[in-house]
């Protein structure tokens, strides 16, 4: 199983890096193979909102930087893990930088999902999605926003499976490992 991990930790955020290592260890225990993108270290321009990736260079962003490679890595995977400090309930800026650049993975054309307008698929298969949010302490409001965001994002990315988990910076290593252990089976579910 191919996994892409997007580490959305901001500069100096050692806890998010630690989570990434725990995650990698958990994945390799299961014989998995993960590509890790530490987004703050990558040169990724912001999305210009030009839609050239739909109407000029279909399927690929016109900006030739690591943003393209991250998108390619996501679509080549069976599981994508978004590892991020929960920021006002949402993704961190570093994660969002790469996520915005991934709309090249879907089609501009429309479809209906559960009665709502969404975009059609571009590819036959998409990765399952696991989002791991990191909070300093419990915060039910932010956790609820985060969970909804992941659900909505999974619909738009056509993820066959998705899960959102939130961990606290104050949690001990044993607890963190068991949270990851419980969250990861999502990746083993068959794709649609």
């Amino acid at each position: 199983m191919k996994t892409t991990i997007l580490n959305g930790g901001l500069a100096g955020d050692r806890f998010t890096d630690h989570m990434q290592h725990l995650l990698q260890a958990e994945l390799s225990d299961n014989g998995g193979d993960a590509t890790v993108w530490t987004l703050r270290d990558e040169k990724i321009a912001y999305c210009l909102g030009c839609f050239d990736c739909w109407t000029k260079t279909p399927g690929i962003c016109r900006i030739d930087d690591a943003g393209r490679d991250v998108a390619a890595s996501i679509i080549a995977s069976d599981l994508v893990v978004f590892l991020t400090p929960v920021t006002f309930g949402g993704y961190s800026s570093e994660l969002k930088k790469a996520v915005d650049r991934s709309i090249c993975l879907i089609s501009p054309f429309f479809t209906r999902i559960d009665g709502e307008v969404h975009h059609q698929r571009r590819y036959d298969h998409y990765p399952a999605m696991l989002a791991i949010g990191i909070l300093p302490e419990q915060n039910p409001e932010q956790e609820a926003i985060f969970t909804t965001l992941v659900e909505r994002h999974a619909i738009n990315l056509h993820a066959p499976q998705h899960a959102a988990v939130v961990v606290m910076r104050s949690q001990d290593e044993q607890t963190l490992r068991s949270v990851l252990h419980a969250a990861l089976p999502a990746r083993e579910t068959e794709r649609q």
Partner: protein, 227 residues
């Protein structure tokens, strides 16, 4: 309560000045506040986030504002990267400030999909930001199918803008008195401007025409990363 005197508009679209729906919506609201005697200032997130000195100017402008309006496009069910970054910086600089007597914070979001409901998560994030950064949450306005309003002032957008203008007028009247945006303005804006069926029909045609113009009509469904 004293009437607010200074309005700050932060445009969260990365499009050029004058080109975005965010600017059409936020610009209209702030012009209505100016007409009620408020001084107004507009900043663009793409220009701002390019340098530390401009970020410093934004932080100073935020501190001067009585009404802080953020107008942005919905990007992947939430706020665009640049907007998230700007809000992270603002929250960091205002750590520990209380919302009592603080500026009002208003969010206006527009989405590509015609149903306003797509914007709810983004507005929840904005509300959470207001709480963490010590602003008074004055409410969020969501417009589905914003594209037809991009590139020109709302006043020049013709009949389809009537409902939008009415909603923003109601919002401006309340904000000018230091009050939150009334529910009726939120509800009025949330009604789709066009039926989703018509919007997607026109949208699909738009993508095809654009593809044709760019000589890639047959490649619109290309899969460059397929293995």
């Amino acid at each position: 309560m004293n009437a607010p005197k200074n309005a700050l508009l932060l445009i969260g679209s990365a499009k050029k000045p004058g080109a975005s729906a965010s600017e059409a919506l936020g610009g209209y609201l702030v012009r209505q506040l100016a007409a009620r005697g408020q001084a107004s200032e507009t900043r663009y997130v793409a220009r701002t986030m390019r340098s530390e000195s401009r970020i410093g100017e934004l932080l100073a402008a935020v501190e001067r504002a009585d009404v802080f309006v953020l107008a942005f496009p919905l990007y992947v069910d939430s706020l665009p990267y640049l907007v998230t970054k700007a809000l992270e910086r603002i929250a960091e600089s205002r750590q520990g400030q209380s919302a009592e007597g603080a500026a009002q914070f208003v969010a206006i979001v527009n989405s590509g999909f015609p149903e306003a409901v797509h914007n709810q998560t983004a507005l929840a994030i904005c509300r959470q930001f207001a709480k963490e950064a010590g602003f008074r949450w004055a409410g969020g306005l969501a417009l589905g199918g914003g594209a037809p309003f991009s590139g020109k002032p709302l006043e020049e957008a013709g009949g389809m803008a009537h409902k939008v203008i009415a909603a923003l007028d109601t919002a401006a009247a309340a904000l000018a008195l230091g009050q939150p945006i009334p529910d009726e303005a939120v509800a009025a804006l949330a009604n789709p401007v066009m039926s989703p069926r018509f919007y997607t029909l026109m949208g699909g045609m738009g993508w095809r025409l654009e593809g044709l113009r760019n000589g890639v009509y047959r490649q619109l469904r290309a899969r460059p990363f397929a293995s």
